[in-house]
Subunit: 281 residues, 2 copies
Amino acid sequence: MIVVRTVADLRAALYPRRTGAVGLVPTMGALHEGHATLLRAARAADDTVVMSLFVNPAQFNEQADLAAYPRTEEADLALAASEGVDIVFAPEAAEMYPAGFATTVSVSGTLADTLEGAERGRSHFDGVATVVTKLLLAALPDHAYFGAKDAQQVAVIRRFVTDLGIPVELVVCPTSRDADGLARSSRNTRLSPDERAQALAIPRALSGIQDAATAGLRDTAALRAQGLAHLEAAGIHPEYVALVDPVTFAPVDEVAQPVLVAIAARVGATRLIDNIVLGGA
Amino acid sequence: MIVVRTVADLRAALYPRRTGAVGLVPTMGALHEGHATLLRAARAADDTVVMSLFVNPAQFNEQADLAAYPRTEEADLALAASEGVDIVFAPEAAEMYPAGFATTVSVSGTLADTLEGAERGRSHFDGVATVVTKLLLAALPDHAYFGAKDAQQVAVIRRFVTDLGIPVELVVCPTSRDADGLARSSRNTRLSPDERAQALAIPRALSGIQDAATAGLRDTAALRAQGLAHLEAAGIHPEYVALVDPVTFAPVDEVAQPVLVAIAARVGATRLIDNIVLGGA
């Protein structure tokens, strides 16, 4: 496994490998089993696996969140090596955003303005879209791997990849969960034991909604109220519990097609998100 | 020469030609000798020459200007064939902007806000940046050719190509001029004979500024005043006469480094632009 710090070195390393398929797994480091799942999917499908490791300042609306984001490069490189990654692209911020940088890739409309876009601010998804465009153009992979936990991020990425015609196939892997059901996240390391127990109300609220929908409850307002009650009973006051179209993120009244159920909530100081799809494939 | 209407067909046509260099000449049609110069430059340097032909609605701030923009596809295809173009990519608007399209590539700051950005509105360069990104990603050329007449457009394109890391080398060809000095433009066909005579004050004002600078006048305010006086004497009230840094478009006080002199003016109903670089390479 080699580690490169510049786009030029990444391209040079990829050049002789272009005869085979290239897979890219973009990460912000602080790797956990969820990332390992993505790396394994890439390893199984592609001849060359590239993992990017870049904590993107442009997508953090809170400086405190950026500063507190865990940075564990040594452990991350060890995990990448153990999962058979060929190339790690770990640039400094100055490589990605040199002096004079002035370009933004932006997705407009409900998809980017709602939920995470509303809570984290308009600039969050601009930051995501701009850096992911740069990573995709740097590596020009055949496949890029993302986790379903970041459902809205995946939908935004799918939107601009389609709109701009970036030549890549997106592969979305199911949310990876701990045995107790909590969605794996780099932020989970910040939870105290009590907070972690409290956080389980999030996947349980989602499971409860899933069960109610499976039992025939189709009214999204009623499903949402049930999930909200579950969270409030655990002392969690969520930023949102939303039932929306998984592609456009437009609100949905009834479960007649696949519906994304998304929750964001702070547990202590830690912001967590999770989601499921009802009636999905 | 083949004509393709979809990105998929363009990529399929280019696929077997990727062993050689690919050059892209983006145009909005209404081809003239200026475009021919770009096509010849591409023909001389690249194994495969792609010309795109798309009147991009997103970069027109005035519907009347869009509606009046000359469309001469048959003659354009004949000219392309005579210049040895291999592939013409001539999509419909629905191919470039299908339903649900929601992505914008945007350059911020002085470069995009000033001069053309101020006169034609913020959305003009967003429209240019978005469509050129799409064209570059559709063709993935080794070289893309642009005319120096659209100096600010070229600077904006250079900015986002660098910032996003689009893997292409930009080639800027000198402004092509008629024997009388008028910069060639698809819009020139709209000028009446009288208007055309009047329009010559634009290249003459630029030449006058060039001569004064060569003679030692370095103060940009004085150079600007001279150009303005030249235009006003011909009955032209320009939108701007500007002396700026050719890369950042920041105003410049003195000619101590290359300075771009840019003029935009309406002659009758037709909007014309022209420029020169003082002290440039």
